[in-house]
């Protein structure tokens, strides 16, 4: 009987100790001195090392960039696994209505939100001597046609909305290229090159007028 009472007392001591500890943690947490338990299991952020940047090429250019299209497109891809592809082939060969459970065969899926910039303008390196005629204070300039100069999609412009399975660099690139093609198509629809040409005419006119020419004619 006495051993039972002793055990009960020991149990009571433990309970008090646990309660004191819990109260202590609560007070500490309340005053912000202890990270929340959820933070204890938060994975540490992976930081990249500071590595040097190597210059591989320096090029002289003369691009008059005059129009830009900001795009945000959603691009996705679904790739069947080997098992799924084999079952699909079997289904087609046997002409049987074989049902392939998606979750079992595991196709990989990815959905990205890609933001990018399509830049159009004139490559002034294409200007020929014959494109410029000067007579007194009059000047006639024929510019080369505008074209898409850059389609920029950087990692900071890319958001991975959903991904399932393992994606190689080439496969990731293929998904992004799909987004880039949509952007280029959009630029064509919005007549970006035409807008770039209109702006280029204004800029060159202003420049030539600033250079003191009384009559300025700029065209394509």
């Amino acid at each position: 009987m006495s051993s039972f009472i002793k055990g009960l007392e020991a149990f009571r001591k433990w309970i008090i100790l646990i309660l004191v500890l819990a109260a202590g943690i609560w007070v500490w947490n309340k005053f912000g001195n202890l990270p929340s338990p959820s933070a204890w299991f938060k994975p540490a952020a992976v930081r990249i090392d500071e590595t040097p940047i190597l210059i591989t090429e320096i090029k002289s250019i003369a691009q008059l960039q005059t129009a830009q299209l900001y795009c945000e497109v959603v691009t996705d891809s679904v790739v069947m696994s080997d098992t799924e592809a084999a079952l699909e082939a079997l289904k087609n060969t046997l002409m049987l209505p074989v049902i392939i459970p998606g979750k079992l065969s595991g196709p990989k899926k990815i959905v990205m939100i890609v933001k990018g910039k399509v830049t159009a303008g004139i490559d002034l390196r294409d200007l020929q001597e014959s494109d410029l005629k000067v007579k007194g204070d009059s000047v006639w300039l024929t510019l080369p046609h505008a074209r898409i100069l850059d389609v920029i999609v950087n990692p900071s412009d890319t958001e991975i909305f959903m991904e399932e399975g393992t994606w190689t660099s080439a496969e990731q690139n293929a998904v992004k290229q799909k987004g880039l093609r949509v952007m280029q198509k959009l630029a064509a629809e919005k007549q970006l090159e035409k807008q770039a040409e209109e702006k280029a005419i204004n800029l060159m006119k202003n420049f030539l007028e600033s250079a003191g020419f009384g009559y300025v004619s700029v065209g394509f």
Binding site: T56, G121, D150, S210
Partner: protein, 203 residues
Amino acid sequence: MQVYNPVRRFILALPWPATLLAGAILFCACGSPSPRPSGIVAALQQMQDLATVEYSLSKVVKASDDQTWYKIGDRKILITCEATVKAGIDFSQIDTRYVSISGKSISIQLPPPKIISISIPPDKIEVAYEEIGFFRNRFSVAEQNALLQQAEKQITRKVNELNILEDAKSNTKSFLTGYLTSLGFEQVDLQFDSPLKPKTEER
């Protein structure tokens, strides 16, 4: 008198609610349609930059995931990427206020050079090496992208330490000198260093 129909009896004996539920689950599992997103947002904007230099850069992105105390095993990754940086001037800032002409001589105060664009093309990004511990998963696309975002920040931060703006200055001078010479000017004076302040036209 009711005739015994084994088919009817079989149909009536079926546990219908359970059968329907199983059928619905099977339908959902088999037919799980993949999302077909198609959202597109676009905004057009005018620019007025004259890009005169282009730098091609390369960088190795190196990361080790070994700091999470409760994860067993490490992960290491090496990604190679290339970037293109363009620099030049704001061409619209060259106007009569900053140009002085005297006979066949022209003097222009040019706007300061600036970085026009930084591009890290997706096709120039490649995972060169990956080492994954037995109990760890491979780096996901989102994780790789997060590492590349850090690399992009490093490139953006360090780009001014390269000589690109000085090259932009000399290339702009060289291009405009040639252009103004072909317009008939015999003496061309282009200045970058003095702050932009309007000049009086002398012609």
